[in-house]
Symmetry: C2
Subunit: 603 residues, 2 copies
Amino acid sequence: MAQQLADKRDLDFVIWEQFDNEGILAHENFEAFNRKTCDMILNEARKIAIKEVLPTMGEGDQVGLIYKDGVVNVPECFHAPFELLKEGEWGNLIVPVDMGGQGAPNFIGAAVAEYITAANFALNGYLTMGNGTANMIQLYGTEEQKRKYVKKLTASEWGGTMLLTESNAGSDVGALESSAVKNADGTYTLTGNKIFITNGEHDLCENIIHPVLARIEGAPAGTRGISIFIVPKYFVNDDGSLGDRNDIWCTGIEHKHGITASATCSMTMGARGKCIGYLLGQENQGMKIMFHMMNGARMHTGFQGLVNASASYVMAVNYARERIQMRELGQPHDASPVAIINHPDVRRNLLWMKSYVSGMRSFFQYMEYQHTRSTLAATEEERTLANGIYELLTPVLKSYFANRGYEVCVQAMQVFGGAGYTKDYLVEQYVRDAKIASIYEGTCGIQAMDLLGRKMGMQGGKVFMTFLSAIQNTITEAKAIDGLTDLAARADKMLNKFIEVAQAITKNAVSEHFKTAFAHSLPYLDVMGDTIMAWMLLWRAVTASRQLAGNPKKKDIAFYDGQIKTAEFFIRTLTPGSIGRMEGIIDQSSAAMDIADEGFGSL
Amino acid sequence: MAQQLADKRDLDFVIWEQFDNEGILAHENFEAFNRKTCDMILNEARKIAIKEVLPTMGEGDQVGLIYKDGVVNVPECFHAPFELLKEGEWGNLIVPVDMGGQGAPNFIGAAVAEYITAANFALNGYLTMGNGTANMIQLYGTEEQKRKYVKKLTASEWGGTMLLTESNAGSDVGALESSAVKNADGTYTLTGNKIFITNGEHDLCENIIHPVLARIEGAPAGTRGISIFIVPKYFVNDDGSLGDRNDIWCTGIEHKHGITASATCSMTMGARGKCIGYLLGQENQGMKIMFHMMNGARMHTGFQGLVNASASYVMAVNYARERIQMRELGQPHDASPVAIINHPDVRRNLLWMKSYVSGMRSFFQYMEYQHTRSTLAATEEERTLANGIYELLTPVLKSYFANRGYEVCVQAMQVFGGAGYTKDYLVEQYVRDAKIASIYEGTCGIQAMDLLGRKMGMQGGKVFMTFLSAIQNTITEAKAIDGLTDLAARADKMLNKFIEVAQAITKNAVSEHFKTAFAHSLPYLDVMGDTIMAWMLLWRAVTASRQLAGNPKKKDIAFYDGQIKTAEFFIRTLTPGSIGRMEGIIDQSSAAMDIADEGFGSL
């Protein structure tokens, strides 16, 4: 039977053949896991995702949410799979054991999540969003706070959120107006209105714990005066039982382009009585604490791009194998029609999609590898550098996966033709669902500013140099392999041009023309992403070539050869375009800054 | 007040300053029109579109269509503006006078349509689709058929359709199974099922005239054996009154990603009794007659990309001028927040959108100019060549506008941030509506095959050479203008590379590697489109430079300078990427054809 949601063979290739995750498993932190248990976990996740979760995706989208009088009902069909996933503890696989999780390594968590997230993104959010809230409390909470909240959140018994955005404070968090006044008992009374709060209210959990950003009366303006509070929907008694309802309410939900079954709530605090919050960490530490969650949220948002793309690609390639339409190119008029996978433009499109899905999957697992290595590192220096790579590349991953992931979904729709434009196939929903990733958790423009303004110069440029060396190492390996020397030389050319563009833009970013540099920051992020794709695909080709040189199973030969062909397609056909775009950035035209506001027209 | 739907100043610039449409108006065919009447028509269209039509766009999308027992009800709010547009004869502005239209030149028709189509694409379809049916009947029908149908169709009293697609005959028209049997009275009895029929059934018109493709019993297989029939919903008596209901019924409507208020119908013929059709033209002439409508349909589909993009851009730039968020880059933390049009990445994005909207608008008007010139041509040679250019560039326009138009809508959503992902702003709908353009009336892949397989070699390559010369002429003009010499040199470089890629791919297309050539055909179409954009933007810069050298009105200076900055942005920042992609095509990697089917994975 054809695969669904993700290509299992490809996932195995990445986690076991491209990356040394058996080496990770050998570490004492993961003694409860070995390759066999990981295989079992992944197979079970795949089964549950396809059989129990996926059937609710389309229905959830079409039924949508019901909001009435402060209450949000999720689609009825979500309840059964939610309970199943909760009971199976699929939401806390990689959460540390002391927080109530299972302590699995990240790589297997990401592999599992490819299935469950792709099967129903909205449902998965209700299941897992408590982990972010729990992480903040675990890091910054008092012992009492940890005891009260953490394990309930990681067990998906209670939901978690993040109350950040207000109508005049979106990208500009420092402009928020929600306020807090300290009470005699050490608690705070909160007032304010928040918008775009994911899962701010729903009926899947008995309680919801809201981390809320607000300004304590008298605190400095801007981001420096923001504190973070724990605001439970229901107060929690000392014995863990639920107490009174707190004065935090959902006042409405957004009607959205996609992820229509994910509740995007407007929330009000203190409108009906008194909203009580508990300070998390110290006063005015809000931004720092929130950013601990933000990196994970950005990785997860990029991941969304990958899984929507992966599922859409798998559906498209399956459809292309089955859909009979038109004779083969060059055959006489009366020849029989063939499956559309035979048509050159369809093949080009499928290989285009495959190259991005493959590159993104490898890059995501590379990031998880870096992250795990940083936690296992023997020395502080090693830890700092591995963590640096992770931080440098997070904005690239977030923005690039959001945009390329979306484009893959759009191209998958194209493979289905007119049928793809209807709700008869899930690609229609993947297109809409995927679009949000370029917007929330910091738009692509914000990611590009983070990359150019903060990340490029990390540790005096050492992190960036280490990143370049890692690419160079793969190119060097490829050069030594028969059949890859030409691709390696082309990748080398691309890397050199990328170094040139990085130098040009970072130099301009600290000159008087800094605005021009930032006007090129998102295209810069994009070519950095392209370079990473070429790197990952070349790395895959190196791995595949070595396996082919061994004694591969017969059924694996086409798979490995497919890796080499995908690298060839991307590097020979697509990277010249990237190199050209790099030239465009190096040129640093200031037209976007020079044009008068009136010049944009429409006045 | 800010503009809506389209930038009026820009439209005026294109039709009166970039192209010599006053010269067109001087022709005797258009003696009823002069510049002043054209201005009045356009202003009136703009007013009606914004005040009467636009308010129904969002509601129409959200209410959608109601299908019950073969009847389709359009959104209630459509009825009033439909009557208004019908009474004002806004649907037949460019239809020849002898067909009941007003005989206006195409350029003013396109300008008017920018407003009315952008204000409500679905509604405009009900208004104008009869023209395509009327054109076929006018060209191929008997005198009786012309008398019965044409003027009712062009007056929007009756609707028109095109029954082509069947579930196993989409791109592959020749596979259709609908059949016709000749009756003793010369009529035909039709049976069959069609899908994806736009406006196949609705309650805005008292009758609908369906052109139907079907195979007469015993006719050859494939496209050679297809005939076309006129199948009225209600028979038409000799006195023009309506007779009995014919046996053609809507059996359901599609639930779609966008254009949800446009009825996409499944139709069945002969299921309840007897479906009678009247042969149009000769037997087995169906494909030839249908293709007369197809070119116009493809132009109109490309146009849809332009107008969705134009409206989305105007909304985005207006929003960017009003939305206050974050301080200016480089200002201290306590500086006041500014409108987001000040932020470099937002400016880059707006200018990116503007460059495509501007280039597409100019290119569309260029095509209308060619089309009108071909009808007014003094010699057969001139007519053939002008018509050749129009035919050569139609598939490029259709596919390129569909894709770039869609991308502009998507980028407009990005400017709105989280709000853009909600249904509070129309950009959300433009994104969904725009997507269809890459699929219907021949997918982008089909357009690319048409370009490479049929159009490149038209008239022994003479048409293509003439097209190249036209670009070269603009470059030569630009070279002579101070301030444009650098841009002209860069455009020249691009044109030379484009000639190289055209040679490489056309050569490969007739070799044994023809499948590889066709695997690069859509990227080839895209770089041809990029070259045309650069040409059009340079042409605009030439026109604007000349106006600036004159004595422009003060308020026009920023507008003209904006043209030059837009050309600079596109040519300096974006065309290097296109040139790079041309290198990728010239390389003609065969990876997409070489990879084994199993290599695509997901098995």
